[in-house]
Amino acid sequence: MAALVIAEHDNASLKAGTLNTVTAAAKAGGEVHVLVAGANCDGAAQAAAAVAGVTKVLVADAAQLGEHLAENVAAQVVAIAKNYSHVLAPATAFGKNVSPRVAALLDVAQISEITSVESADTFVRPIYAGNAMATVQSADAVKVITVRTTGFDAAAASGGSAAVEKLEAVADTGLSSFVSREVAKNDRPELAGAKVVVSGGRGMGSSEKFHEVLEPLADKLGAALGASRAAVDAGYAPNDWQVGQTGKIVAPQLYFAVGISGAIQHLAGMKDSKVIVAINKDEEAPIFGVSDYGLVADLFKAVPELVAALG
């Protein structure tokens, strides 16, 4: 039996997390098939067929699948899930929305946010904000899984040549409909997959200062901007910038924590970063317990200096 990856895509192309999910699927189930459910999603289907290690792409192309509503996408997955030993999706807003619905319809457990595949039925996942790692075994016929993308390397986006097969789209459940989407446009890399992340905390003091101080540093490093929950709660940064237990999990090459004290909920979202730099005026701040390089300084002086020093 093969593993099925539910592709996250925008109809034209694949979202990055899909590639990490393919890697996890290959470890769990051997042969990997990808389901692309969308509308006019030929671009995404072709992209999926080119991913290294994918042997088949199944395409369900219909208007009611275009906006990735959970009810319709889950019904599409369930229609073919019985053919698979594993059904996997990235642990993103998309995957977390769809995947548990699939699991319950199949009357199986979901294994959330796995970071490692031990064997075909045994997986490791973080609990308690990453303060403990649980190794869990599933006896269900189909293992429904969401994949923490930072736990797996991305599969190569090219080199594959999978067969593309059309599926009959399931009927619209009629339970919900798409109204609108407001996506902030900027030139920065996506937070979840960025190589460098610059995050600010409550120490930024205001929304104006947050942007004024951190944007030049992010520009200089080609970094994504992130924030602690405290900064989001204070209104300094939008919610989708939140890094932590209840926000995004990131593991960039380089992570800057600026004016962030280092609550366990925040550490849960960034402690797998390769190199962590902390800038905070409080030398007792817990963030210094996980940082590789700590600078005890007034961030309003240190960050502009740093920008200047980077040339």
Binding site: A70, A104, A109, S112, Y128, E182, D233, N239, Y293
Partner: protein, 249 residues
């Protein structure tokens, strides 16, 4: 319109849990327990909808040990009208809880069910979506705004990169995100009032549900430790380390 709000008793968010030395789990003996923070947001939203006249009754429900009655009393103090405890000593996983909640929903016939998006102990983020699947209900996860009118709901959702608005039929399962509201402080008079509110106790067998776990936890271990690095004297030293030691810029 009735609103059903499931609430979970979890280790308080300020407690840093310790893994037991035998690897069987985390040590939660004698630690402070509280209502899951996202569930507080869920209760608050339901009570506000009743205060606005959109809903007529808010029913809080919890599944688990007898001690979950404390959590339900907190929900009643925030403003829920009555409470139901599905009492069991069994280990409950999200699918079992969703089945129990579906059975309660069949009895109570709520038009709206509001759940926290995830519990901060098992971090599963599943129960709401599973309840919606089992009931054949619409779902609106990670909500930051909920409006009910003319037998329909319009919900703003927090998604990667921004916000999404969907329109749904009722009954609907909503899961809460952080910005949906700020829960009120519970006052002493309301705590006293909550003690007199109705709290019914059921067993899983009364609901015809087998709550047996599907996943077996083989072991629980500490995460890989990250050791603290060094403090640098100034910005110049930091840049030097990043360039020449870590080689990341």
């Amino acid at each position: 319109m009735k609103i059903l709000v499931p609430v979970k008793r979890v280790v308080d968010y300020n407690v840093k849990v310790r893994v037991k030395s035998d690897g069987s789990g985390v040590d939660i003996a004698n630690v402070k327990m509280s209502m899951n923070p996202f569930d507080e947001i869920a209760i608050e939203e339901a009570v506000r909808l009743r205060e606005k006249g959109v809903a007529t009754e808010v029913i809080a429900v919890s599944c688990g040990l007898t001690a979950c009655q404390e959590t339900l009393r907190t929900a009643l103090a925030i403003g829920a009208d009555r409470a139901i405890l599905v009492e069991t000593d069994a280990e409950l996983q999200p699918l079992a809880v969703a089945k129990l909640l579906k059975a309660v929903a069949d009895k109570e016939q709520p038009q709206l069910m509001i759940l926290g998006k995830q519990a901060i102990d098992d971090d599963a983020n599943q129960t709401g979506q599973m309840l919606a699947a089992l009931g054949g209900y619409a779902q609106a996860t990670f909500a930051s705004k909920v409006e009910i009118a003319d037998g329909k709901a319009q919900v703003t959702r927090e998604v990667d990169g921004g916000l999404e608005v969907i329109s749904t039929t009722l009954p609907l399962v909503v899961t809460t995100d952080l910005r949906l509201n700020e829960p009120r402080y519970v006052t002493l008079p309301n705590i006293m009032k909550a003690k007199k509110k109705q709290l019914d106790v059921l067993k899983p067998a009364d609901l015809g549900v087998d709550p047996a776990p599907r996943l077996k936890t083989l072991k629980v271990s500490d995460p890989p430790a990250r050791k603290a690095g060094i403090k640098v004297a100034d910005v110049a030293a930091l840049v030097d380390k990043l360039k020449n030691e870590a080689k990341v810029i």
